[in-house]
Symmetry: D2
Subunit: 351 residues, 4 copies
């Protein structure tokens, strides 16, 4: 299907991103869920809640299990989340006596949120690397062409002469700050979610923190102080960061589109797009895309902030709203960074 342009086999080549998208395939998602269940089994065995044999059986199953996707789909239309049916399928395969050692003490949200976080880790690396490459490209442009004189334009009118360097500084500084802020985002987001039915790890007789600590260690995630099942500010800060990045790229894109206008001619684009009606056109497609993706993310961010009002111990409404927007914001950002990099490789500034 291709309801979202990001999932579209044609349009996704421009607006989506294969590398980032890989982490949002069902395969990747379920692999992350199985990694959680496997590590949970090890951690609960470690504290004596399930047997070592059970943990081994679960670990083996997790390494190879392929769920019945159709049955997951049918169940999700009823349960709102795919974990109950995934656990049921796995338990059926495990059989007695280990079936109920699987998913011991956990709840769906532990699986879903942690499986997301496990994929956010490489995704943040990916975004960080691309950001770095964009910054390198900006630095290279500055070194090569920074001294070129340019008419500054304020309120869309010619102001006074500046150098290209002056404009470039305003392009790169927000991206440099975004790069530096990534460490904070990582510390807020890459945390284990583990709370059980209502966030209190009620099945663990006071040893919940020990299980959590071991589980976090096994998954190479930080441990939250308690859990964050209804505290979505970490994910929200990630979404803010994404939109700040696309906003900074949107400014660059808009500037380049304006600079490339016939009559302004401050820059020529090497790989401009063609038109089906006019052979002479050189359309600044990548610049326009950066503007579109920045507006897209700006608007989605409102949805993420709305989802901060997460009722009581778990809100189906708020949680679902996150799923509807966060993956798209991430892929939009990956696509914007890729397009920005490509755009900058082909700019020729007018001396």
């Amino acid at each position: 299907m291709s309801i979202s342009v990001f999932d579209h086999p044609v349009m996704g080549r421009l607006l989506g991103d294969d590398e980032a998208a890989g982490y949002f395939s069902v395969t990747a998602e379920i692999a992350a869920m199985l990694a959680f269940e496997s590590a949970l089994a090890a951690a609960t065995a470690d504290q004596g809640f399930i047997s070592d044999e059970a943990a081994s059986a679960i670990s083996e199953l997790s390494a190879t299990f392929t769920p019945d996707i159709d049955a997951l789909g049918e169940a999700v239309a009823r349960d709102g989340v795919m974990v109950p049916e995934l656990v049921r399928q796995m338990r059926a395969r495990l059989g007695e006596p280990h079936a109920f050692s699987l998913h011991f003490g956990a709840t769906s949200q532990d699986v879903v949120d942690t499986a997301l976080v496990l994929r956010l880790k490489p995704l943040l690396d990916l975004l960080g690397e691309r950001l770095e490459r964009v910054l390198e490209r900006l630095a290279a442009i500055d070194q090569g062409d920074g001294d070129i004189q340019l008419a500054a334009r304020t309120r869309m009118q010619i102001a006074i002469p500046i150098h290209l360097s002056d404009r470039l500084r305003n392009w790169s500084q927000p991206l440099e700050r975004a790069r530096d802020d990534l460490a904070v985002i990582r510390s807020r987001v890459l945390r284990l979610q583990f709370g059980g039915a209502a966030g209190t790890l009620d099945r663990f007789d006071g040893k919940g923190d020990d299980v959590a600590e071991r589980l976090a260690f096994l998954l190479d995630l930080a441990l939250a102080d308690g859990n964050w099942h209804t505290q979505r500010d970490g994910l929200v800060m990630l979404a803010e960061w994404l939109s700040r990045v696309t906003g900074a790229l949107g400014k660059i894109g808009q500037d380049i589109v304006l600079m490339a206008q016939n009559g302004v001619d401050d820059v020529t684009l090497g790989d401009a797009g063609g038109s089906s009606a006019m052979a002479h056109k050189h359309n600044p497609v990548k610049g326009e895309i950066l503007v579109a993706l920045s507006r897209f993310n700006a608007v989605q961010l409102a949805a993420m902030h709305l989802a901060l009002v997460h009722e009581q111990e778990r809100s189906g409404s708020a949680w679902t709203l996150e799923w509807l927007v966060l993956p798209q914001m991430i892929v939009a950002t990956a696509a914007a960074l890729r397009n920005a990099q490509a755009l900058m490789e082909n700019l020729r500034f007018a001396p």
Copy 2:
């Protein structure tokens, strides 16, 4: 891929909609584009701009052509739109002397916008039918249970006794108005887009209106007064309508979730969702989904309105922004209507 939950093979079963999604597959999209090119050939032949032989050749090719999707993807990353490469592939297949009779006088936007409209026609029928079924279900509930007494709740506190009918009326009236408004939406949206390079049908020596009239007739679309390449208020009104529908369903969903609370117990849900941690739970998943989808659409609508600022004769930024949100809004609405219908089939109101 499944970056969007709507495209997700599992989650899409709850949040997406197979029937609506079909119209957003690449296959359906290209089929609509080919229908445009075929009808355009007939209309331009009709006015003598291309030969009847060329029109026949184009019509035959359009009936069977399967493009090289990968090449479309590569081209779109440069052109921002898939039409130039699609036309190139078709022209290569047509060969001389008919190649340049294809797409005569048209531009990419004519193809993309009209191909969207051609699919919006059955989609609006689909949404209209589902809306009707939801209204029928509400009427049936009213007939069966309307006399049940209920404690009205204002500002979330018990007010005075009312009947279920009173609440149902507030559920159904906005949906009835939405049903009635569909005719207006159809008249604003189901219109041919045809303007050529810059909206002036410059290739037709004053006979552009005749070609347009014939083309609209062949595609069974209304004729706009001129063209609407930069006038996006029709699509925006569709988006508004979609969000009004999901808003009305969101209110119903929220009310049912509140009524189903333990301690309130105004309603019992027949097909509530299960929990992976608590067997006794009956989660009002479909009600929550209606709330989530309503918030999703409310936020996306801002993006559609932003896209009204469509610069000059064609804005790549604004146009792309539409693509990023409109298909999702439509599928969200189809999914909300389907979930609402299912939800209402399983309500048992407490006498």
Copy 3:
């Protein structure tokens, strides 16, 4: 205070609108509330629920009453709505035996919503007149300068030659549709709100509809089928219309800003803004303002759509959210229309 730029004594001269703002003063608001109470007294007397003497006393008081604003403020911080304290103050002044004939059978929402609608009536007239004047101005430009040749620009690049008329048509058609749609908006919005405690007119022993009919007649408003206390789609459609108008004006503003760029020089602005640093600058301020106001309204519209999820028989959250955005959207639109008109009076297009 001037937390909102619309209320700012300086910035409001550009971004706000004195004429529209007048309808949102406390004085105007309370006058509308008193008009409701006075008409309600007449209508309930008409049906025998209160005495004619009471109705006369209430009518006289309403004509002259000036509330203690400070006490209203103190009460609103507790009640969330100013009506309970307003009614209390009026009852204290009325004294026995008429005190409890005031506000008979009504609830705060009846007063607040109807008092809004009473002011929306002249506001819609105001907006409609300004829209007409903008359209007249566009027609005059077309008549005078429509034949001027212009380079069409698609995707921000020169395409083919068109005439100014071609661009003007895309500016005016969406506004013409908005003008025509105003009749629908009026029919959806200018309706009496009257439901009593929970929307069932419970105090009127089956004669509620008669009271409502009389009340609507006296206030020169249409009668809703029942009431719309939780059905906010009428107000939401108004908000949509407002944002479509500012969106259409935003496109005009953006185009003019682009046309006025040095190097493009398609238009010269007669009353461009000055700079504190550069005497030579001619800033296209009014064009920029149109873009800013269109984005503002596009975003606010999301809040109005969120407020469609109006829980049960009255939602304090959703209702308050409307108050936070709707008046600003109206004034933004009035300001955009005024600025558009002024902008268009001073354009000199390059032949």
Copy 4:
């Protein structure tokens, strides 16, 4: 005027905030602008660009100057910004030979942005103190009532027993993080804006950095690396922080509203609001307000992110958009914190 509820003399008592609003009065705004001009005069005199006599004259005038507000309003309708006219009025009063020593080397944006930052400093203190008081109140509730048992509710249904402490932890932790993040926000926001006509301090012959350093010192602000005239990520991060705070408070408000429902009765509100129709009602007004303000801020945040696309060396559109939303977001947050504090002082939890 009271177009915005925040500026409304009655509704503002609930939804607005007198203390925060004070910083957005025209008086406070102009005082901050005069402080900038005075410090600029001292800093430019320090580097020999104007005479010490001129600096003294400007300093004296700034201490007492009251502008002609009406003339500012007239000018702003043309210039889009009040600084050119303010400078004109001040120069007229200064007379020769000092007139042109005023505002030397600066541009309107330097004045407007820095005058905002000067007021954000005490505003952030105010918000920080209120946040601290809310956290203290939460800690006190935990100490007093934390052991009370509560039915956890997940997806709006009873799950398992927890303690009030468990829910309180999810209320307070996001607010604790917000408190801790305030230091970062201060470091990003409280920075001098000083760039001259196009951000290059072109009038200072290479000594611009020295002037800037002195100016920042005099105004007790940090020095940006260069200037941030088109880099709005600092203000955007402030807006994000505001919406995270109101989101966290919105969750608390929503939870309390749900807990206070008849039939759930987990909490009783001491100062609930009254109804004009039903004397028995205890409306959880402050809880509802917290939800409404959180949604308001969530939506406004989209506008702030849109304003990141700030074209070239100064964007009138993007800059104006900030003005339309940022002050309201700040006051909404101040009001939410005040209402949250009041709400929490009157909660009685059911044992």
